[in-house]
């Protein structure tokens, strides 16, 4: 088979499969969130549509499609319509560099289970993921009313503070792997211990930032339904609102995938070496994929779990945590890692 055609076909296949996987997971996550939060509150949650409520996301989506799309008179039309798209697209773009599993072998050619194997992997994620906040800020601005504006302003302030900590928290990993490529990070963890154990402080900071970056409780001040009505998406309805929702849940999945990749060993299965996994061929790849996905799902559960445990921070507390605790701790983590990595006898 022509090599170029094969490359295009597999890449297209990967794009279709992975983006749909993320979107379906986002939809199921909405149901999961409602069911799990219900269970935590001694309730049942939606259980009528389909078996155990499994078709609820479809019902929700249909509802969104049939709702009237209200565009309030006071909005900045162009930005107002653009904002939901700006939230969704970066979230979907970041899926490109996430390694979903060990390379598959198709017709004798190795196909890595990552859409784009970039050498700057994690930088790409941070660059694109930060674009997502423009959606929120623009939505707040374009809505031209009080609550969305406050939500947008809060979001930008929160983003700036936590993006810093996010960056600092992962530097330790790249100091020890010596590469920004996510496949290398996974390989390093397959050989050694997971970075969650060797970089506990970095892991903790990254998890906190993941919550802040995805606007999840306890950092959901941009939405803050008890104080800001619905925050930045107050003026949105119908599919535009659904797109914000979708973008948010996809971003959650991306961060869950990032945490799995960076700190929880990616597709690594405990006590199984990379060689053993490779020996099983494509089944090994599938197993690795399942392992990776299980870690993502566990973290997705953690999102919900935390949501119903920790109440929302006041806005100044959010800021204080980011600047006064997060950044010093992130720097301390880098310094500590540097000292450990020093070759013996240097000092």
């Amino acid at each position: 088979m022509n090599e170029t055609v094969f490359y295009f076909a597999t890449t297209l296949g990967k794009i279709v499969v992975f983006t749909h996987l993320a979107l379906i997971l986002a939809a199921l996550m909405v149901l999961g969130e409602r069911r799990i939060s219900a269970v935590m509150q001694s309730r049942l949650g939606p259980n009528r549509v389909g078996y155990g409520g499994l078709l609820q996301p479809i019902a929700d989506a249909l509802k969104f499609f049939f709702k009237e799309d209200v565009v309030p008179g006071q909005v900045e039309k162009v930005l107002y319509i653009l904002a939901p798209a700006i939230t969704v697209i970066p979230a979907l773009l970041t899926i490109a560099v996430i390694p979903f599993g060990p390379a598959l072998t198709i017709f004798g050619t190795e196909v890595p289970l990552v859409i784009a194997d970039l050498d700057i992997g994690i930088l790409f994620v941070f660059a694109i993921a930060s674009l997502g906040v423009y959606g929120v800020v623009l939505a707040g601005w374009a809505s031209n009313s009080r609550y969305p504006l406050l939500g947008g302003v809060r979001s930008s302030a929160q983003m700036i503070s936590y993006e810093l900590v996010l960056g600092l928290s992962v530097i330790g990993i790249f100091m020890s792997t010596g590469s920004l490529r996510l496949l290398d990070v996974v390989a390093a963890q397959q050989d050694g211990v997971w970075f969650a154990f060797s970089q506990p402080l970095g892991f903790l900071l990254f998890v906190i930032c993941a919550f802040a970056e995805t606007n999840r409780l306890p950092f959901d001040t941009p939405e803050a339904e008890t104080e800001l009505v619905a925050g930045y998406h107050t003026e949105y309805s119908s599919m535009k609102f659904a797109m914000f929702f979708m973008g948010e849940y996809t971003a959650m999945f991306v961060f869950a995938a990032l945490i799995s990749t960076l700190f929880l060993g990616g597709w690594d299965i405990p006590f199984v070496t990379a060689e053993q996994l490779a020996a099983w061929g494509n089944w090994g790849s599938l197993l690795g994929f399942v392992s990776f996905f299980t870690k993502c799902l566990c973290f997705m559960f953690f999102y919900i779990w935390v949501r119903w445990t920790i109440p929302r921070f006041r806005f100044d507390q959010t800021m204080a945590l980011g600047w006064k605790v997060g950044i010093p701790a992130g720097v301390a983590n880098i310094v500590a890692t540097a000292f450990i990595l020093l070759p013996p006898g240097t000092l």
Partner: protein
């Protein structure tokens, strides 16, 4: 005078907040395994005690005779003026002519009723009772004005220990 609230001094361990967060997480995780208290409404229904004040109904005595003598006390006491009675005489040749009067029509406007139970309390004949019916709905307003036939149908027969008209 302003009251000064003493804030407890936190130890460095408490200042980490993480142990408290872990405690909270453990708490919510335990909650997940507790039985849920949701009632699957249309299939399962609330069971009420006898004194529950639901929709008012009219009852018949042990012989199936109308208890109401249309004294109209309930109509007068009714705070939202939901009850309207059209009194009527019972003809002499009627087999149920133990009393002089019975309502020709009896309306309770359920859109006005406040379920206070005063009609039940004041009724000298114990003819009107608060049932445990709590699901009232209709497609128009007229459907929710209960007439005599509907009230008797819902109330049915009620056998009491006091049989005032037993020998009549």
């Amino acid at each position: 005078m302003a009251k000064v609230i003493e804030r407890p001094k936190l130890t460095w361990y408490e200042h980490l907040y993480l142990p408290a967060v872990a405690q909270g997480l453990a708490m919510t995780f335990r909650e997940m395994f507790k039985p849920n208290i949701t009632m699957q409404y249309p299939e399962e229904r609330q069971v009420f005690y006898d004194d529950y004040r639901g929709a008012p109904v009219l009852v018949k005595d042990e012989l199936g005779r109308e208890k109401c003598v249309s004294c109209q006390l309930c109509e007068f006491i009714c705070p939202p003026k939901a009850i309207v009675i059209e009194p009527g005489e019972i003809p002499h040749d009627d087999p149920d002519n133990h009393v002089e009067k019975a309502p020709r029509e009896f309306f309770i406007d359920m859109l006005r009723c406040i379920y206070c139970g005063m009609c039940e309390e004041i009724c000298p004949e114990e003819a009107i009772f608060m049932s445990s019916e709590y699901e009232l709905n209709g497609t128009n307003r007229a459907e929710l004005i209960h007439n005599k036939a509907k009230l008797y149908e819902r109330g049915g027969k009620r056998v009491d220990s006091i049989r005032k008209w037993k020998d009549k």
